[in-house]
Every structure is written in C-alpha cells, then in structure tokens.
Symmetry: C2
Subunit: 359 residues, 2 copies
C-alpha cells in the first residue's frame, strides 16, 4: 500500500537527534559556567547573533543556572582553531562552520551546504527528519564533539570579483577566497582557491593577495566594503544553504544535568532557526539599500560555459571523494536522495508560486 508518512516525531523533533546523556544529578542551586569560542570577530553582523541569543536564552530558561561566556576571535586569536580548542576542552562550546574543518576530516565539509544542493528549508528537513543529524554525529563523534545546526545564511551570492568573468579562461590562476567543496571545484577548473579568516578578507583583497572573495550575501557582505574594490557581484550556485554550527565538547556536555542539556540544545536550535530568518530579513533590507546607494555594483551571473564547467567539476569531484571514503558516500547519497524527493515539492510549491507572482 501507499507509503505516505504522517508520523509525529515528538521528542526527536523538539529536541535533536543527539541522545541526551547523563543525567548528572540535578542540583537546583549550582551554577554551571561554559565558555564558547567563535570563529567570528567582534560585532560581526548576523553571524554574531546565534551565540549571543543562545547564551542569553539558556540563562533565562535555566533561571540563571547555566551561564555561557563568549570569546570572539579578537580575544582568542584563533578563528580557525575553534575545532581544536573545543576538542581539547580549552573551550566547552564553539560557533563556526563545519566546512572550515575539511583539512581535519573531509566529511565535515558536506555538513554545511553543497554546491547545486538543497535550500535551507530542504536541508533542515534533511537534518531533522531525513537522517542528517545522525550522519553529522557520525562524523564528529571520533573527535569527542557534538555538532548541531547554528543558523543558516540562506542562498549565498557567488562572490565579489575585481574583473568580469567572461569565459573559463578568466578563472585560470584567479586567486579567490572560497572555503569548502566549492573551493575544490574552483581548483579543478584552474583557479587558486584559499580560505582566509573572515577578519582578514578585506585587507587581502585590497592588497591584491586575492582577486576575488566569496563571502555570504547582502546580509553580511556590504558592511565589509568589498564593493569598493571589487565591483562585480555574482549570483550564487555554490552555497545554497550555508548552515553554521554549534560545536560542543561531548564530555563537558555529559557532565551537565539532564535539564540543562535540554536547555542548551533547545537554545541552540531556536537561535539557529532565528538566524536563518534574520539573515533572509537583512538580505532583503540590504539588497534594496545596495541598489539605491551603490549603483556602481554590477550584479552578474557566470556565463553558461563557466556554469557548465563548474557543474562538471562538481560531479567529477564527488565521484572521486565518494569512491575513497564510505562515510562520504553515505552522506552524499543520503543528501542526493533527499533532494531528489523534496525538490519536486519545492518546485510545485515555491518555484511555481514565485514565478507566477513575478509575472
């Protein structure tokens, strides 16, 4: 018979796929203090929101029993060291992005977003109802870490370029700041991708150490001033739904009483959702402002020749990495199957509606 699914996912849905361990004995009076390291510098727009919203909410929900102190990269001076610091217990928690750790474990990069992949709504479906959370823990468990969604930027723009990209040749030797799997795709088509800590991107672009920078989109980009030195702003394909991450030191988590474990997980979950909405909101505001205030910005799409080459490189690289690593294959296959199913509905619902309304 028909395989329609109407199951309620009560506990799993409201909490997360991480089993709540413990309980250490609840002690009503004891105050638990945790330290969180961010990859982001101080006052970094909407990226600064999830950790602060989470900490403030956790303290309120716990009536002051859970206090979380946040250090930005300005303090700990190690934007790309968050994984190691939380793993080692130097910090209890982190806020960063999974694909920054691809040098430590290549599977981490598929847990942020995928070129040509799912939208934010689709990817949350995969995480919470399609097996994604379980696969994420499978990747992080060997490192004594728990990773949970930390807020989605939504669709990212393709980046700021000093000069127009008219053909595949224009990518040859191009020095571009771009992390994750999209960086590998750029390498395969002849560019020189690099990852640079967010706080150092503008200076690198200004000094000519890089020719282009892929960062986020209108929610974040304009405050960094890239438009002043690289006026070509390309539409996106590479990060359709970039999910930031909260990292948790697993042993520290296990020492919390069960209700504080629940409070921490819930505060992270709602703060991640909130950032997703706030990011779309700010993108809307800033896009309109950009068009008015910076008419010199030229919004472009890559020519079909370039897009086809990027897509081909993506497919070939995926075939290579999934052949080498069974867990990579498990993750990529799970995401591809989920996308294939859910996109039919996304197209009928959202794409059709948006197209009709745009007419």
């Amino acid at each position: 018979m028909i395989k329609l699914t109407f199951a309620r996912k009560v506990v799993a849905a409201a909490v997360c796929a991480v089993a709540l361990i413990g309980p250490a004995q609840a002690d009503d009076k004891k105050v638990y203090r945790l330290k969180l390291a961010e990859t982001w510098p101080t006052n970094f727009g909407v990226f600064s929101a999830p950790a602060r919203n989470m900490a403030e909410l956790a303290e309120k929900l716990s009536n002051g029993r859970l206090k979380i102190e946040i250090d930005t990269a300005n303090k700990h001076k190690s934007a790309m060291g968050v994984f190691d610091m939380v793993r080692a217990g130097q910090y209890d928690l982190g806020h960063s992005a999974s694909y920054y750790w691809k040098g430590k474990d290549e599977n981490t990069q598929f847990l942020t977003t995928r070129p040509f992949g799912m939208t934010a709504t689709e990817q949350y479906g995969w995480f919470y109802y399609g097996g994604g959370m379980e696969l994420m823990q499978k990747v992080y468990e060997p490192y004594n870490l728990i990773s949970v969604p930390g807020g989605n930027t939504g669709m990212q723009m393709g980046g700021w370029f000093r000069k127009e990209i008219k053909s595949l040749d224009d990518l040859k030797g191009l020095k571009i700041r771009i992390p994750g799997f999209a960086g590998e795709i750029f390498a395969k088509v002849g560019a020189s991708p690099t990852n640079i800590a967010p706080g150092e991107m503008y200076t690198s672009l200004e000094r000519g150490a890089i020719d282009a920078v892929e960062w986020v989109g209108p929610s974040m980009d304009l405050r960094l001033g890239f438009h002043k030195i690289a006026p070509f702003y390309y539409s996106g394909w590479q990060e359709p739904a970039t999910e930031l991450q909260f990292l948790i030191n697993k042993r520290k988590f296990e020492r919390l009483p069960a209700d504080l474990q629940q409070i921490l997980m819930t505060a992270m979950r709602v703060s991640a959702y909130d950032m997703t909405i706030e990011s779309h909101h700010l993108s809307g505001q800033n896009w309109v402002a950009m068009k008015t205030e910076f008419p010199a910005v030229q919004v472009k799409s890559f020519p079909p020749e370039v897009m086809a080459a990027l897509r081909k490189a993506n497919d070939e690289l995926l075939a290579e990495v999934t052949a080498k690593n069974p867990l990579t294959k498990e993750i990529v296959d799970s995401q591809d199957a989920y996308l294939k199913q859910v996109r039919q509905w996304t197209d009928i619902a959202d794409r059709t509606y948006l197209n009709n309304m745009a007419e």
Copy 2:
C-alpha cells in the same frame, strides 16, 4: 548615508515580541499545570505535532515544573470554540489558526496568511523582525489573549474539486470549504464558501454538502481521502504560508514565574519552526507517493481568466476592508511594504536558483 541594517536583536529574537510580565515569585518546587485545547481531532498528522512537541519540551526544560495537558476536539467537542474557551479561561492555551476567528474580529484573518502574499520564510521575517508580532498582539490584546506562531504548513494547494474548473462560470454557486480571506474572494467571484471543522470535511464532501474542499497540501490532504471523491487537485495562490497559532490566556500567563513564561514561549517558538520544516518534509514524501500510488489525481492550475478574477477580487476586497478599519490598514500596509522589500531578495536568491537547477 546608507541605511544597511546589521543590528543584532538579542532578546527580541530569542524570545518573542510579547513582553514577559510578572515575575510571580519563582518557587522551585511548585508544579504549574496548564490545559490546552486544540482545534484538531485526535491524531491529525503534522497539525498534532506542535502542541505535543511544545508540551513535552516545556516539561523537560522546566524539569517537570510545567505540565501541559492537551485536549483534542474529540474531547472538548468544540473545534471552532478554542478562541472563546481560552478567552474565558476554561482552557489556558489553544492551538488553532488565527483566520478561524474572522467572525469575531476581521483582523485575525490577516495573521495566518494572505492570498498572493508572503512565503513562510518571508512571513517569519515579518513576524519576528518586521513588526508583525507587535501587530498580532494589538489584535488579540482586547480579548485577554496572546497569540504566537504555531507552525507553518508552507505553500498550500488550491483544493480538491469534484469537477474541473474551466472558466469563471464553473465557480458560480460552487460550494467550497475555504476559510479566511480567500473565502471572501471566492464569494466575490460568485462561489459559496463555507468553513467546516477539519474533522467534518470528508463527510461533507462525500454527501455533496460541498463541491470542493480547500484544505492544506500533500502533507495533510491525502490521509483524509479527498482524492477518492474529488480528483482535481489545484495548485495554490490563496495560502502561501499558513501559520497556525498558539493562543494563551493572558492573565494565566502573567501568573507564571518569569522562567516558566520564558520556557513556554521558547517551547512554542521552536515547535512552530519544527512543524514548518516537518510539513515541507512530509509534503515532499507524500507528493512523490501520490504520483506513484494515485495516478488518477489530476494536478491542475486555474485558467488565467479565473486567476485574474481572483486577484482582482482580492485587491477590491482589501481596498474595502482597509478603508473601514484603521488597524486592518496598518496590518495590510505593513505586510505589503515588507513583501515589496523582501521579495526582491527571495527572487534573486531562491527563485533564480530553483529555476536554474530545474533547467
């Protein structure tokens, strides 16, 4: 200078626009018990999820100090009486949909969704970052009620019809179950809209008391069996982002200690987001299953003549209602301004991406 907005909304974002009142003195041992009435019958698919997820989460977050008992419509026998029962204090909480109360206050119907209006992501942006929550409380405050988002169905389908709609004439006298402002639009083009409690829709359609039923979409519709008796399934325009609601008796809320107020609000907020994701997930699963298992279902769109008439009726009705009621005008103007701004980004980001991927 440029009006880019990068403000963090720490407290407002993590909680909600409702001021947390109280605090009644926190008493660590006291157990608070609340009763919630749902509009939905027992085991009603994804609509049953938010109240249960919320209650379970609230109990865990509070370490057992907040216990919420849920009565379905099978128990209280008053699906469309939830507003009155929560207002009177017979129940402390409700889970329903704001547009069911348009007979009591016409402004309630604009707080669920709007024909030709915002998508779910856009509408959450309006609620949480665009002034929507404040306007919602302005509508509900006179009734001693607080209303907060209760989960979004995403884009709804246009409904199940016994016979094909080939022209505007086919709508004349058509008896259709459809609530909210879309019902008024159908009335204006000559149909006979009615609202029927969810538990009674199938029987009404089967007995011919109605000719068509607009319900939700693949996440909910197929389990009700409409396809067996009304095989024409129309694409949507009328409810692009139907947000259910949690209702709270304000005086009961004020008697809770501040941390339990926060726990209740947070549990509602995260359960609403979760349903939004689960609904898209189930729609994806069920759409694929429907196409396989029920090939007789005919997916249609209304002809352009009909769509143009519906849009014209929408605009005329809006002009009438906003002229009569200043708060209606404030709500509709706020939504229209928000949509105008955010849709430019939604189009550049999501529509462009989905169209490119579909090629």
